[in-house]
C-alpha cells in the first residue's frame, strides 16, 4: 500500500482509493482478508483511528464485511459496487458528446479534450 503523506489527498481517502484499486484489478478477490488496522498502522505508520475511518467507510459502502473475531473480508459484489459509478459517468459523457456533436465539434477535437482531461485527472490523483 503506497500512501503519499505529502499529497493534498487526505490519508484516509488514499487508503480507500488504494483498496478500491486493488479490488477492481483483482489483486484482492472476494472473501480475501484485508489487513488488520494494527498491521496496516504499523506498516505504513498511520494513525489507527484514521485507518479505522477508512475501513468503516469501505464497510458502509458494502465493499467489505467484518466477521467478529476473524477480521475484514472483501465482499462478494465489491467490484460491481466500486464500478457502479462508471455507468453513471458514461451516461453523462454520452450526453456531453451528443451536445458537442450537435455544435458541430470535430471528433478529433473531442478526443483531444478527453485525453487532456484524463491526464489532468490522473496527475491530480497521483500528486
Amino acid at each position: 500500500m503506497l500512501i503519499n503523506k505529502n499529497s493534498s489527498e487526505p490519508v484516509y481517502k488514499q487508503v480507500i482509493t488504494q483498496y478500491k484499486k486493488q479490488i477492481v484489478t483483482g489483486v484482492l478477490k472476494p472473501h480475501d482478508k484485508l489487513d488488520s488496522v494494527r498491521k496496516l498502522s504499523y506498516d505504513i505508520g498511520i494513525n489507527p483511528n484514521t485507518l479505522q475511518k477508512s475501513f468503516t467507510q469501505l464497510e458502509l459502502s458494502g465493499i467489505c464485511y467484518t466477521v467478529p473475531g476473524k477480521g475484514r473480508f472483501v465482499s462478494e459484489d465489491a467490484v460491481s459496487i466500486i464500478t457502479s459509478n462508471i455507468s453513471q459517468h458514461l451516461k453523462i459523457l454520452d450526453k456531453a458528446i451528443e451536445e458537442l456533436a450537435m455544435c458541430n465539434l470535430d471528433i478529433e477535437e473531442i478526443i483531444i479534450k478527453v485525453r487532456e482531461s484524463y491526464n489532468d485527472a490522473v496527475n491530480r490523483i497521483n500528486s
Binding site: 494494527r38 505508520g45 483511528n49
Partner: protein, 307 residues
C-alpha cells in the same frame, strides 16, 4: 475523556490561557498547535494538573485533576525541557517512575531502551538533547497511563526515531485505548499524526478541526456557472469564503467533498474543480478571520513550520 471548560490561567498580569473550552475523546490523539508563547505548554500543564486554574475547570474522567493523586496516576506529563538531577541515570529514573505509576512496565522499558540503543547506566546529564528526549519518551511510554501528555516531545527528534515513537503510540492507542495529547510547532507533523487539532493563539482557542472527517473537511472550489451568477451556490453549500475573478468563483466550502461536487453539478457548471485544504491553509484562514492579518511578505509570521 478530558473536559476543559472556560479555562483561564494568569501569571501576574499576563493571561497565558483565556477562556479555553474543548473536549478530548478517549483513545484519540489530540494535537495542540500554536506559535511560541501562544500558551500551549500552559494548557498542557493545566490538563496535567501541574498548574492550578484561575478560572474554569479541567475534568479527567469527570474528576478534577489538580491536587488529585488518584487521578494523577492516570496521566503522565512530559515537559519540553525535562529537568534531571545531577547523576541520575535512565535506570534510576525508571525506578522512580515505576514507584509512582502502578502500571509501569519494566519489560517494555527494557525493550525500548534496547531499540533506541540508549545506555541506561550513563548519567543523563551527559546525554545529548535528543537522547535525553528519547530517554524521557521511553519512560513515559513505559508508565502505561491512560493519558500521555507530550509537550513538543517529538520536535527535535530525527525522522526515524519520530516514526518509531509514533508507531509505539499507535500501538498503545489500539491496545489500551490510550489518549495522547501532544503539542508541536509543526502542523505537518500533527496533521499526519492526530485525530483532531486545536489552534491556540495568544492564549485563546482560535479553532478546532477534526481531521480525517469527511463531513467536516474544508474544500477549495473553483467554479464557473453558465449564467455567471453564483448566489444559488450560497444556499446549496456551506460557503466559508468567497472570491470572484471574472466569471470564475473561488470558494472555500465546508462539508463532504463528494456531496459538494454532486450538489454543484446540479447547476451545470462550465468549470468545477475541487481540492482539499491543507491544515495550514485552514488555520491561516481562521487566524485571518480572527483578525490576525498575515503580512504578505512574511509568510512565517505564524512561526509555524510546515515540513
Amino acid at each position: 475523556m478530558i473536559k476543559i471548560k472556560n479555562a483561564t490561567k494568569t501569571f501576574g498580569h499576563f493571561k497565558a490561557i483565556k477562556n479555553v473550552t474543548c473536549s478530548i475523546n478517549k483513545g484519540s490523539i489530540f494535537g495542540i498547535v500554536g506559535s511560541n508563547g501562544a500558551g500551549k505548554s500552559t494548557l498542557l500543564r493545566l490538563i496535567s494538573g501541574v498548574y492550578h486554574l484561575d478560572k474554569g475547570e479541567v475534568l479527567l474522567d469527570n474528576e478534577f485533576i489538580y491536587d488529585n493523586p488518584k487521578i494523577k496516576k492516570n496521566i503522565i506529563f512530559l515537559s519540553d525541557t525535562p529537568f534531571v538531577e545531577l547523576g541520575t541515570t535512565a535506570k534510576k529514573l525508571m525506578k522512580e517512575y515505576a514507584f509512582h505509576y502502578d502500571n509501569f512496565d519494566k519489560k517494555e522499558y527494557k525493550e525500548l531502551i534496547e531499540i533506541f540503543k540508549l545506555d541506561k547506566n550513563m548519567p543523563l546529564s551527559s546525554f545529548s538533547k535528543g537522547m535525553l528526549r528519547q530517554a524521557m519518551i521511553i519512560i513515559a511510554l513505559s508508565c502505561n497511563t491512560k493519558y500521555i501528555v507530550l509537550d513538543e516531545a517529538l520536535d527535535g527528534l530525527d525522522a526515524m526515531i519520530r516514526g518509531l515513537v509514533k508507531k509505539k503510540i499507535y500501538n498503545k492507542v489500539l491496545d489500551n485505548n490510550t489518549t495522547v495529547i501532544i503539542s508541536s510547532h509543526s502542523l505537518r507533523e500533527l496533521e499526519d499524526f492526530c485525530d483532531s487539532v486545536i489552534l491556540i493563539h495568544k492564549g485563546e482557542l482560535v479553532f478546532q478541526q477534526q481531521l480525517n472527517d469527511m463531513d467536516s473537511s474544508f474544500i477549495k472550489v473553483q467554479v464557473a456557472l453558465q449564467d455567471a451568477t453564483t448566489d444559488c451556490l450560497f444556499e446549496a453549500v456551506d460557503v466559508v469564503k468567497y472570491m470572484k475573478s471574472g466569471s470564475v468563483s473561488s470558494l472555500i466550502v465546508k462539508g463532504n467533498e463528494q456531496e459538494i461536487i454532486k450538489t454543484i453539478q446540479k447547476f451545470n457548471p462550465i468549470l468545477l474543480e475541487t481540492v482539499p485544504l491543507s491544515l495550514e491553509e485552514i488555520f491561516t484562514y481562521e487566524l485571518q478571520q480572527y483578525g490576525y492579518a498575515l503580512d504578505k511578505d512574511n509568510e512565517s509570521a505564524l512561526n509555524l513550520e510546515v515540513k
